[in-house]
């Protein structure tokens, strides 16, 4: 069901990759909504399946190597039922994507102008001159100082930050309703990061787009997001408004992430380090809370056998019941196994 503000509805989506002839879930049973005029952040360590979720929405997977189930309802269309041609009406037009590595995401042998106007070739009926004007306007919008000059340049002549601006220009050229930004600032240095985030925010205000901002950097989330979904090992473990997730985090994973993030009031302490690693796809536990092995001091009885989402406040959901008993080992009232 499409409503005015909730235009993207991800229902029970799983994506499995073929590894040595067998399929393994990289994301399982994801449920998410995106509204106009909001930035939904998806956070989680590297390997949690954030990019897989993004490329699943974009339909960028090779159908021979992946198995995707569920439903992605975009303004009334189930994207997962579309063939490649049908998908092309959405990609670039209604959904724009910004990738992590601006150094390799542009074609090294094409001028910037051609790479930006290419997206308009397929989704607009603008004339050559109109496209040229639009390219200059877009470059100006994303904060390029000399659009005329940059339009004529090749990617290798631009800095990383400028290339990321160009990629943003491509993503927004056709005024998409949804912008997916997969770690758009990870490859850039800190001052540029802030500028890029500003650009994203401005664009969103202007276009009333919904933005999915993927990142493993909680600082970025705190600064920009309206809502946050925390992802661990292919599942959403906590979802809520930015205030809810930052001020009253519930799931042990969210709390561990927040505690391992450098902050002003604990900068002299040793930073908390989450034990262990995100499990690889083949080693994913089939029952229990997937985060349980990384908080071994929490008794097994605290976890649900098949963890589900629990609403702890309106719009704030947490996976598994273990959050009720969880505390860090060095804190008062800690439960020891």
């Amino acid at each position: 069901m499409e409503t005015a503000s909730n235009f993207l509805n991800i229902k029970d989506v799983s994506t499995a990759f073929k590894i040595n002839g067998q399929f393994y879930d990289a994301i399982s049973h994801i449920n998410l909504q995106v509204h106009h005029d909001e930035i939904l952040a998806i956070v989680g360590e590297s390997g949690c399946g954030k990019s897989t979720l993004a490329t699943t929405i974009m339909g960028l997977h090779d159908p021979a190597e992946t198995k995707i189930s569920g439903e992605i309802d975009f303004e009334g269309t189930n994207l997962l039922k579309l063939d490649d041609d049908g998908y092309n009406d959405f990609r670039g037009a209604k959904i724009g994507m910004i990738f992590q590595d601006p150094l390799s995401a542009l074609n090294p042998l094409k001028r910037i102008e051609d790479q930006i106007s290419e997206v308009m070739d397929y989704h607009t009926s603008l004339s050559k001159e109109e496209k040229h004007e639009r390219v200059l306007q877009l470059l100006d919008e994303v904060g390029i100082v000399n659009p005329k000059r940059t339009a004529h340049q090749f990617p290798h002549e631009l800095s990383g930050g400028m290339r990321q601006r160009v990629i943003i220009a491509i993503a927004i050229a056709c005024k998409p309703d949804l912008i997916i930004a997969d770690e758009p600032t990870t490859a850039l240095d800190v001052t540029i990061q802030a500028q890029i985030l500003d650009v994203l925010r401005d664009i969103q205000k202007e276009n009333h787009a919904g933005i999915i901002l993927i990142t493993h950097d909680l600082g970025v989330v705190a600064e920009t997001a309206d809502r946050v979904a925390v992802m661990y090992a292919g599942q959403i473990v906590e979802e809520g408004t930015a205030e809810q997730v930052f001020n009253t985090p519930e799931h042990p994973y969210t709390r561990s992430l927040l505690r391992s993030m450098p902050q002003r009031d604990n900068e002299n302490d040793d930073l908390y380090v989450i034990k262990g690693n995100v499990p690889s796809l083949q080693k994913m536990p089939s029952t229990g809370d997937r985060f349980a092995p990384r908080i071994p001091w929490v008794p097994a009885s605290a976890h649900e056998e098949n963890p589900t989402m629990h609403e702890v406040a309106p719009g704030h959901e947490v996976r598994c019941t273990c959050y009720k008993e969880f505390s860090f080992p060095d804190q008062k009232g800690s439960v020891t196994a």
């Binding site: 974009m58 960028l60 490649d84 041609d85 998908y87 092309n88 009406d89 959405f90 990609r91 670039g92 037009a93 959904i95 724009g96 994507m97 990738f99 590595d101 390799s104 995401a105 542009l106 074609n107 090294p108 042998l109 290419e118 997206v119 397929y122 989704h123 090749f154 290798h156 990629i167 491509i170």
Partner: protein
């Protein structure tokens, strides 16, 4: 871009000078002198001594080198001992044949290699790709002269479809231009095809892996997320980006073709510079050998120069500011 090309051109000048000095010293080190074969062996040694003196053969090497270069620029490369004729004229009569065969081989090579490489890369792992790869591996393992010998034996002698020697048939050489061209073309057909079959290998393998790399590249993913249909992604991104570096191979293939011409012309008794070179070696015709080494050396340098220039035109990243 002109700056880049000019710069690259200037780099070639010292290369040519060094090459010419080496060739000159090589010529000096060879037995015999410019009069070998042109004077009576029973001549008075005193007289030979005098001749050498007035011809500057006792001068320091750099003076002699300078003399040699001056002669070179007048087109004077000495006389062939074997043919008793100026080396310049001798080579000029054969250079055309070699270039004509080389050009034809190159066109055929690209005509075979480009579609094969692109096709194999696009359909990686499928049957046609496997067939093309087996072909390249097999060809790669067989030495070039073996391919030539087998080819000339099967298609020249057993089936008798192609001439096996010369560059033009006796009947055609006196008649009209159409017959002349026809016969010349007929004579380069088999050596050209065999040369191309061998020459394709590197290009096919390179192009195939370029296409495969491009398919999985981030910029292709960007293009897909723009909603560009698959066939246009191949046309505008994958093929274009994979073919451009191949253009630069053109220069290097000149080098390969010239070196290959020595084999081809020998096996096909085709009267070009390669055959002349081999004959001159067996007759110890040093003036001709020296001249050919110099020419082959310079052509090799030009081949590399061409490649670099093409690459700088084609790939914006290489242009030196």
């Amino acid at each position: 871009m002109w700056k880049t090309i000019l710069r690259r051109f200037l780099i070639m000048i010292p290369e040519v000078i060094i090459l010419s000095i080496l060739v000159f010293l090589l010529a000096k080190a060879m037995p015999g002198d410019p009069f070998t074969g042109s004077i009576n062996p029973k001549a008075d040694p005193q007289q030979i001594h005098h001749l050498m003196k007035i011809n500057g053969l006792y001068d320091p090497w750099y003076q002699q080198y300078w003399q040699w270069v001056v002669h070179l620029f007048h087109g004077n490369l000495g006389n062939s001992y074997q043919y008793q004729e100026p080396v310049t004229r001798l080579i000029a009569g054969r250079a055309g044949n070699t270039l004509w065969l080389a050009l034809f081989t190159m066109i055929l090579t690209y005509a075979f290699a480009l579609p094969m490489g692109v096709f194999a890369g696009r359909h990686e792992g499928k049957l046609p790709d496997t067939i093309i790869r087996v072909y390249t591996y097999v060809t790669y393992c067989i030495p070039f002269f073996v391919i030539l010998v087998i080819g000339i034996w099967i298609f020249g002698y057993v089936f008798g479809w192609f001439p096996t020697t010369g560059s033009i048939s006796a009947e055609a050489s006196g008649s009209g231009w159409l017959q002349t061209i026809g016969s010349r073309f007929y004579h380069i057909l088999l050596p050209g095809i065999l040369g191309a079959l061998f020459g394709t290998v590197n290009i096919v393998q390179y192009l195939r892996s370029e296409v495969i790399d491009a398919k999985g590249s981030d910029y292709v993913r960007t293009a897909r997320s723009k909603g560009v249909p698959s066939k246009d992604i191949y046309r505008h991104h994958i093929f274009r980006n994979s073919l451009l570096p191949i253009a630069a191979f053109a220069g290097y293939s000149i080098t390969g073709l010239l070196n290959g011409s020595i084999f081809t012309e020998t096996v096909f008794s085709y009267p070009g510079m390669g055959l002349l070179f081999v004959n001159s070696i067996s007759y110890r015709d040093y003036t001709v050998i020296t001249a050919l080494v110099l020419i082959y050396g310079i052509l090799n340098l030009i081949g590399t120069l061409l490649s670099d220039i093409i690459l700088s035109i084609v790939d914006p990243r290489i242009r030196i500011e």
